[in-house]
Subunit: 302 residues, 2 copies
């Protein structure tokens, strides 16, 4: 079987990660002990994780026609993504994001999205979507995600929405278009009510046509299957950097679904990939290889 | 009289400024309302301020031989600095710095200096220092600053040290080499004792051969003249961004000295330039022109 070919669509960012002993509670100067610059964005980082795990990935996104945009493309190309369909928007500014990661794994994220960066997704070559085995989108470029999800639905492709906390209305528009919606915990509660996770999953499912799940950080992954709650605990690890762990989960989950795995198997695989990522500093640069995940699954109790 | 030609020597940085409503006390996501990327560093920003004020500036520094280093050079060239003697260090990484500025003017600064960036200042063409009218150095590249200050002292040039808080020993090494040491308030107290400013100025002067002054933010500028404390109050302004205000002060002060001003006149001029900078977001990009400072001085009570 050839490697699945996954399409990722989202908002690209150029990230500066600083490792700091502690994130201060009052404004001051902070001296980082390490610094890393790399291109990201949720679906891009998910795509880079898929490449590490053996999949092939094409990435559709737009960046500003500036030095940061070109650095973003160069770095994602180095991560193995196919980028022939990325768009440099004339006059737009690329998204930059600074992230502080402290020694306790806490983080402060400061992303700047240019409000002038043309959101029109009309140029997306959605007629090519039937060529892919699955689609993974983030919610940070809603118009692009909606267009890609709609095209994937029309041809019956697996289409995973990485449903993180978003401005009002965004998840309401996107989630019904996806075959699989995997929420973050706060996004699920924002979408479906602040009660217990089980109730929120049931409430979300009544409004959505497809698969509904939620990532719970160190607690793992829960989802609904034939009306019942299922749960896959995450393996225990010593977390040093949880940045991009969610992206890695969504990438690994999408790849496993594209390979034909059932949700329980895909969830266990994605839990392991995300847990391994957390043991390494560097955001998505810490994502594991397929061999590392498989070795970890063989020895892990999870 | 032709415009003074000032040499600036220091550590160059590539800065990302985010304007945020408030800097959070606990790690979280922060959405900036504006973002600006520009090259800086204390002496570089001081030099850019000098150019705005009508001086000519050559800048000596080293950057990593990477995309950030090239962006640093391009942006400082756009600010009008002469950069033929900047050094791209093979294998070194350029310094990046993220700064959050909140609506109350508070700021969090996160600079990353590559410990591998070659500190050797042997390549600095110090035989050219007699050609300049004055020297301004920061303390972030101590070996470079020491070499330039020593050469300026040997030929009797005005040599201003922007003496901000530094690792132990750095100001102790550099300050005795400068003709003019202008401390920040915390740096003066670190150098000369945590008592009242007046006592600390006297204590510093007993250890230094030249001029000793201290910038006091909104309170202005104090210095010693023939054993007596002098003070120039800063004009009152509505501060929206104090970032680089100290750099602008040091640049304006150096330029005024090079033009032959006495310390009181130079201090008043520099106070006005720094105050105007504080009224505009954007770090050193908010530095005023000569005409703006002169108009402000005509109408200001200071």
């Amino acid at each position: 079987m050839s490697a699945p070919h996954i399409l990722c669509v989202g908002a690209a960012t150029f990230d500066t990660l600083f490792k700091v002993p502690a994130i201060p509670a009052t404004p001051t100067k902070v001296l980082p002990t390490a610094c890393l610059q790399l291109a990201g964005g949720m679906a891009a980082s998910g795509g880079a994780a898929i490449v590490r795990l053996g999949g092939r990935v094409e990435y559709w996104a737009r960046v500003g026609d500036d030095a940061t945009g070109r650095a973003t493309i160069a770095d994602l190309a180095a991560a193995g993504l196919e980028l022939s369909r990325i768009r440099l928007v004339p006059g737009g500014r690329s998204t930059v994001c600074t992230i502080l990661v402290d020694d306790a794994g806490g983080r402060m994220v400061v992303p700047y999205y240019d409000p002038q960066l043309d959101p029109d997704p009309g140029w997306l070559p959605v007629e090519r979507i039937p060529q892919f085995d699955a689609l993974l989108v983030d919610a940070r470029w809603p118009a692009g995600a909606a267009r890609a999800l709609g095209a994937a639905r029309d041809c019956g492709r697996i289409a995973v929405l990485d449903a993180d906390v978003s401005p009002p209305g965004v998840l309401e528009e996107l989630a019904p278009l996806a075959s699989h919606v995997v929420f973050s915990e706060p996004a699920l509660q924002s979408f479906a009510g602040a009660g217990p996770i089980e109730e929120a999953l049931h409430a979300a499912a009544t409004r959505l046509p497809g698969f509904v799940g939620v990532t719970l950080g160190a607690a793992g992954f829960s989802w609904l299957e034939r009306g019942a709650i299922r749960h896959a605990p995450a393996p225990e690890v010593q977390a040093v950097d949880t940045l991009s762990a969610g992206d890695v989960f969504h990438g690994a989950f999408t790849l496993a679904l594209a390979e034909g795995a059932d949700p329980a198997t895909a969830g266990r695989f994605a839990n392991a990939a995300a847990a391994l990522k957390c043991t390494r500093f560097g955001g998505r640069a810490g994502a594991p290889t397929r061999a590392e995940v498989e070795a970890f699954l063989r020895t892990s109790a999870a």
